[in-house]
Symmetry: C2
Subunit: 436 residues, 2 copies
C-alpha cells in the first residue's frame, strides 16, 4: 500500500507515525516543502524572546522519523499537483511523480497578508514556519522600532518577544482591545496589561513605506517609524491541493471532513490546520487551527487510514496565551459567540484571588463564564489572571466536554490546599454566581 | 423557627449563612467551643512556616457573621448534651439550654492520639484548631529537634514548616514511604524529596519521655532527641453528640447522611468533617474529611434546612499537598483501593515534562492513573511533580465526575501554548498509555 502525506507538521507526522505503527509493511511517504518536520511554529515568539537555536523548534529531527519509524521523509519537496492515484512533487527543483492509494492533506495554514502596498519590503515579515526566526533575529538586531500589525495571539506574543529584548513596540489592532475574540470585560484587562509595555494603537494600516528596507507604517491616523514590521493579521487554511482533487471545503473555507478525517473524496483524508472539525457545543463544523487539535486529527487520520476505525469527537475550542505575567485563556463560546449561535445566555464575571488570603503572594484572576439559560449548561469561559489560568480553563473545558450544568460545576471536586487555591475555587464561585 | 448549629467551622458557618440568606426571619444560633469561627486549620503549618498572625486563619471574624449575616454566634460555647428539641451548652463556664426545631451537627474531626505514655508532656502537640499555633510557635522558638509522629498530609506539611524555619526534623512514619494513601510509585518519589530535608524513619513509636517537657521519642528501633513533638497520626470524626440523639453512624465511623445531609433522625442534619458522603466512583458512603467538601455539605445542609431541596451528589476524593517544591495530588481511587473495591484494574505510570522542550525551565511530573478494564472508565489518578499538579489532578477529577473513559480523556481539549504545557499534555499521554 502506498500512502502519501502532504505536509510534515504536527498532523502529518503524527498520522505517518500512526500508520507505520499499525501497518509497518506499508510505504509511507511524507512530502514537506520546508527543511523542517514536526515543527513548532507556536514557538517562534519564544525563540526570539529567549534566543535559543531555531533547530529546537523541531520536536524530532527527520532522521528520527526515517530511522526509528521507517517513514520515507522528503524534505524541500513541494507538492505541486495532486491527481487521482498520484501526485507531482518539486523536490529540490526537480519534478517527480509518486503514486498513492491513500493520501492525507496536512498542508496547514498560512498567514494572511493584508492587501496594502509595501508588504514586500525588506524587514517586513509574516510569522509562518521556524526558518523565519533567523531572518527576524538578524533584522531586529539593529532595529529600534518594531511595528506589529494585528493584535491576535501571534501579535500579542510577538509584542512580548520584542518588548522583552528591549525594542520599542507598536501593536496595531483593529478593535479597541487586543485579542478581540475575547469578550470586552476580558479584553480590557488585556489592554491595560499590554499598554504597560507596548504602544497599543487602534488604527487601520493603509500602507507600509521605505526605500528598500521598511521605514514606516502608515495608518488612517498616524505614521509609525518602523525598522521591522510583523504582519499578524490572521491565517488561512492551505486548501489548494484539496481543491485540485475535488475535496469540498466547509463554510469556514477549510477542508470539510467527517469524524474519521475523511474528505468528500474517497481515500483522501485531511487533518490539521487545513481542516475543519466538529465544535462539541454547537454540533457544527468549525475551524480552530491549533496544535493539539492538529495532532489529534493526525492521530485519528492515521488510525483510519490504516483500516481501523476511530472517531474524532470534536473540540470545545480551548486556547491560551500570555503577555508577560498575564495569562489569558478561553474555552467554549464567548458571550458574543453564544448569542450569535442563538443561545439564551446568562453570563457572570468574577474577580478572585488564586489562594487563601493568608498564604503569601496570592494573585488576581478574573473569570467570565456563560451558561445556556434553558439547560443551565456551561457554554464557555474566559479567564485572565496572573497564575493558574490554564488550570481553570481546563476545568471548564472538561466541564463543557461533559455537558456539565452550573450545578455540576459547583459540585466538582477540585483540589484544595492553602498553597494552591482558595477553599471555594473561583471556578466554583463562578458556577454559583451563574446560579443553578 | 429555631435553628441550632453545633460547630462554627467551614460547614457550620456556611450552613448558617445559607439559612439566613434564604430565611432571614429564622433564628439561627451557632455554638462554637473555641474562640474562632470560620477557621482554617489547614493553614496551621503555613502560619508556622511564614509566621503570620494566627488571627489570619479566620476567614471572617465573628462580628461579620453577627452584623452582616444576622447569625447569633456563641463563642467559647461547648454543647455538652443534645436532646430532642433542645440542647445544653457550657457558655464560658455557665450551663444554658436552648430549644431547636432543626439542628445541624457540624462538630468536625479531632486528632487521634496514639495510646502511648508521654503524650501529655509539655511541648507535645496535636494539630487541631488555630489557637494551637501560638503555643507551638513559643515552644519551637527554643527547640532544636522536632519529632513528627505520623507521615500523612499533616505530618508532611508540618515537616516542611519546621524544616523551613531551621529546625532539625525527624518524621516518623509507619510505612516505607510517607503519604501511604498513595501508591508506591508515587510514594517513593515523595520519600526521596522528603529525605532531602528531613530524617524520615520507618519506626513504631512506643513512648514519649521527658521530665516535664518532652525530651525524647522512643521507637521500636531508636531513641530520638525531641524538644517538640507533633502527633499527626490521623483524625477521627466527632460523633458523640450525634450518637446522643440517636443518629446512626456509617461504616467509616462518621455520621451517616443522605444526599440532603439529613441524618437518620428527623430534623437532625450533619455536615463537614463529622459526616459521610457518597463516593461517586464506588457509589458507597465514604469519609474524606476535607475543607471544600465540608463547605459544600454545609451549603447543601443550609439549603435543605431552609425548606428547599438540593442534593449533594458526592465526591471523587480530590486532594493535594506539597513538600517544598514537590506538589502531590490525587483524585479518585488508587490502584490498591480500586482493587479492594473489586474493579478489574489497569494502571499506567508516566514521567513527563510540564512544558515543550524548547521553553525555559520545564519541570518534571509523574502521573499514575488507573482505569476499569471492563468499561475503560478512569478510576483515579495520582500526580507528583514540580509544577501544575493541581491542574492535572483537577482535569482527572472532572473526568472522573463525568464518568469519562480513557478515550474521552485522550480527546479532551486541554489548552496548549509553549509557556504552559507540552503539545500532548501528560494527562492525554496517560490516557493513551492506558489504551482505549
Amino acid at each position: 500500500m502506498e500512502v502519501a502525506i502532504v505536509g510534515g507538521g504536527a498532523a502529518g507526522m503524527t498520522a505517518a507515525s500512526r500508520i507505520k505503527a499499525l501497518k509497518p509493511e506499508w510505504n509511507v511517504r511524507v512530502f514537506e516543502a520546508s527543511s523542517y518536520v514536526s515543527h513548532a511554529p507556536c514557538g517562534i515568539p519564544y525563540a526570539i524572546e529567549f534566543d535559543f537555536p531555531t533547530e529546537r523548534l523541531m520536536y524530532y529531527k527527520p532522521e528520527f522519523f526515517v530511522k526509528k519509524r521507517g517513514i520515507d521523509v522528503h524534505l524541500n519537496s513541494k507538492v505541486v499537483k495532486v491527481k487521482r492515484g498520484s501526485l507531482v512533487v518539486n523536490e529540490n527543483g526537480e519534478e517527480k511523480e509518486y503514486e498513492w492509494d491513500k493520501i492525507l492533506i496536512a498542508t496547514g495554514a498560512s498567514p494572511r497578508v493584508p492587501p496594502i502596498d509595501g508588504v514586500d519590503l525588506e524587514n517586513v515579515f509574516t510569522v509562518d514556519l521556524p526558518p523565519i526566526v533567523d531572518r527576524i533575529k538578524r533584522a531586529v538586531a539593529e532595529a529600534e522600532n518594531v511595528v506589529i500589525v494585528g493584535a491576535g495571539y501571534i501579535g500579542v506574543e510577538m509584542a512580548e518577544a520584542f518588548s522583552s529584548i528591549g525594542k520599542k513596540v507598536t501593536l496595531i489592532g483593529k478593535y479597541d482591545y487586543p485579542l478581540p475574540k475575547f469578550d470586552r470585560e476580558i479584553g480590557e484587562i488585556v489592554r491595560r496589561e499590554v499598554e504597560k509595555r507596548v504602544d497599543y494603537k487602534v488604527e487601520k494600516v493603509v500602507a507600509i513605506e521605505g526605500k528598500d528596507k521598511v521605514e514606516r507604517v502608515i495608518t488612517d491616523k498616524n505614521e509609525h517609524r518602523a525598522d521591522v514590521v510583523i504582519l499578524a493579521t490572521g491565517v488561512k487554511p492551505n486548501v489548494e491541493l484539496a481543491e485540485q482533487i475535488g475535496a469540498e471545503l466547509g463554510k469556514s473555507g477549510a477542508i470539510k471532513t467527517n469524524e474519521f478525517m475523511e474528505t468528500t473524496v474517497e481515500n483522501v483524508y485531511a487533518a490539521g490546520d487545513c481542516a475543519e472539525c466538529i465544535n462539541l457545543i454547537t454540533g457544527k463544523p468549525s475551524w480552530i487551527p491549533l496544535a493539539p487539535t492538529a495532532n489529534k486529527m493526525g492521530y485519528v487520520a492515521g488510525v483510519n487510514m490504516s483500516g481501523q476505525r476511530l472517531e474524532f469527537p470534536g473540540v470545545v475550542g480551548s486556547q491560551i496565551t500570555k503577555f508577560y505575567d498575564l495569562e489569558i485563556g478561553r474555552t467554549g463560546l464567548t458571550e458574543r459567540e453564544a448569542k450569535a449561535e442563538g443561545f439564551n445566555v446568562k453570563s457572570a464575571f468574577i474577580e478572585a484571588h488564586t489562594k487563601v488570603p493568608y498564604y503569601p503572594n496570592p494573585k488576581r484572576v478574573y473569570i467570565k463564564a456563560v451558561k445556556d439559560v434553558d439547560t443551565n449548561r456551561i457554554l464557555g469561559a474566559q479567564i485572565v489572571g496572573y497564575e493558574d489560568v490554564a488550570m481553570r480553563v481546563n476545568v471548564f473545558a472538561l466541564a463543557i466536554q461533559a455537558g456539565f450544568t452550573t450545578k455540576d460545576v459547583f459540585f466538582s471536586d477540585l483540589v484544595y490546599a492553602p498553597p494552591f487555591t482558595p477553599i471555594w475555587d473561583p471556578v466554583i464561585v463562578t458556577a454559583r454566581v451563574l446560579r443553578f
